[in-house]
Symmetry: C2
Subunit: 363 residues, 2 copies
């Protein structure tokens, strides 16, 4: 097959659990985690074996478009699509698909978040290629992540009847999408071997997706068609401004995937992480070290006495840690975090405290 | 009695255990611990009920004289005596005593370190007054601290036969000075009720001290007399430069107190601390709080989640602590410390690491 492949990269989210490095004006995907590239740079780099630069679209809001433009100089201005306001993943990804279809009616489109980490890019690419094979057969394909523990923070995908095997990866029809489970349910899911994490990675024919959207979200499909028809005319901005606010705010999962009966899943095992908190960031970097138990030390000289398993994101000046194991220190120009690694999820509560204080400059 | 009282305040020491706030160029006595005054300012303030401003002498080295001059604007330039080089407490305090005697042959002189904390200044003043009464009787008087635990970092004073009781404080002859003990010995000392901490606080008649010095350290006494004779002449600097380097480097304890048989001790109970480490600084400030268990937060806004018993010395910007109890955070322009309170003594090892690295600018 030689259908052209397009990649859509939705770039949003606040990443409050990586405060104080991530801020509303400097979300996770703009940061060099784990580095040296920023997460959005790495996302596009990871896709390059399967997608030419010219076929990539970043979909983002008004807040981060200029930062993205500077971080991704290889993209044409037109490849950075700016939503006037957030309307959920359905319209956002849908717009990217409609733009790809307009450029190439035979397009296969994949959608990949801008702020996920992949340890083994080669395995990732094979999984995308397998997903493309399944998408050829008119399936909306999700790439599900083989769970490594009973995470309660993600949705799960229950795999059903097997479809084909490509690149040594066996695909299946999706039996059911499951909301974030409680711990007991998550443990049951993982033990069964039948469930995968829903990491919001999708691959499909543009034409088949638009077909399903016209059937399941006809108003959204009509609106997107109107916008795309005016895209390369002087009316683009005006049409977008008029139509976009009227579009239903809907996720691609609820609006389409959970309601279509042509949904497949391709399991992925490529060391995926959403770098959801500082402990996770530390683990990823430690895994990459020769000695997995060493401290993570970024942008500082660490002076440690009786201190192990540290995650230190510095800001140039030296940081001394005495008599403390398993902590995170994040030093920035205007705020400092000291956190127990086992409490890394609670960093979100610090951002809540700052909101209550009205300290918007720190959020 | 109406003998005039003079106070000598030796100001030296590096305070490496309070790094990174204290540095060799900014030792503990120049810092506002616990604040709002700096320790040397507070030392002179604490003495003011018993000593007029004009009768105070600070003895320091060349490194800190200018900082002291600015922190103590009420002192005349002549009251800040600069040693050309360190020669131990014997010559340093001896020079202060000799200068006081020269100004006033009847002077009673007390010597008090510039970097000690006193919780109850009124009780301190009563203790000094009691010491003055005993000094009148031609004793070299030490003020010993009633020990509150078996500290192994201080020398001890063994009290012998009782002398008089003044201001409800019973003085004694000194039986023996003891070096820093091991823990078992320290516990025995404290249990006996007979031992006091040697905090290097002394009171004596200037004339009697000089008499004992001429007997026990005759060369030092002669040198000091030569220096003091030229003090108010154009030859002061030259004589000091010629004589001082030739003086024996000797402590007042070894050189005089341990060898005189006219030594007395007055026990002091005034909430003394040498603020030897960050844990100690935190305890002092917590004791001063309405609620002794609260966090200590200086110069920052603390955002704490699941975190208690913190000692936070900030530098303006907010500091968040998540999921960690009993830690110290000290934030300065060029270095950051995060330390377990139970390991506060080990901060010294960070300074050692910096020395090994040759990072003299941080020491």
């Amino acid at each position: 097959m030689t259908r052209p492949f397009y990649a859509i990269v939705p770039a949003g989210g606040s990443g409050t659990r990586l405060w104080p490095l991530s801020r509303s004006r400097r979300p996770k995907f703009l940061l060099p985690l784990p580095g040296p590239r920023t997460m959005i740079q790495e996302t596009l780099h990871r896709l390059s074996p399967v997608c030419s630069d010219t076929n990539m679209f970043v979909i983002t809001g008004v807040a981060h478009a200029t930062s993205i433009a500077r971080q991704l100089p290889a993209l044409e201005e037109d490849q950075i699509v700016i939503e006037p306001m957030a309307r959920g993943t359905g319209p956002a990804i849908g717009l990217g698909v409609a733009l790809a279809e307009r450029r190439d009616p035979d397009a296969i489109v994949g959608s990949f978040a801008a702020d996920h980490y992949v340890e083994r890019p080669d395995a990732f690419v094979d999984t995308v290629r397998a997903a493309i094979e399944v998408a050829e057969q008119d399936y909306l394909v999700t790439i599900g992540i083989q769970p490594t523990f009973a995470e309660t923070g993600y949705g799960y995908i229950c795999a059903g009847d097997e479809l084909g095997c490509y690149y040594n990866i066996t695909s299946s029809r999706v039996e059911e999408f499951k909301e974030k489970p409680d711990l007991a349910t998550a443990e049951r899911y993982v033990a069964s071997g039948q469930y995968l994490w829903n990491a919001s990675m999708f691959v499909w024919k543009a034409s088949f997706f638009m077909h399903e959207m016209r059937r399941l979200l006809p108003d959204v499909a009509t609106a997107l068609t109107t916008i795309v028809d005016d895209w390369d005319t002087p009316r683009r901005e005006q049409t977008l401004a008029e139509i976009w606010p009227t579009i239903e705010d809907v996720t691609i999962d609820h609006g389409i995937l959970e309601r279509s009966n042509h949904v497949a899943v391709v399991p992925g095992s490529f060391g995926w992480s959403d770098l959801g908190d500082w402990h996770g960031v530390g683990k990823i970097i430690q895994n990459g070290n020769a000695n997995g138990s060493e401290n993570v030390v970024i942008d500082t000289h660490l002076l440690a006495t009786d201190a192990r398993n540290l995650v230190i994101f510095g800001n140039g000046r030296p940081i001394a840690v005495v008599g403390l194991d398993d902590i995170v220190v994040v030093d920035t120009d205007d705020a400092l975090l000291v956190c127990n690694r086992s409490h890394a999820q609670q960093v979100k509560s610090i951002v809540d405290l700052l909101k209550q204080r009205g300290s918007t400059e720190l959020i």
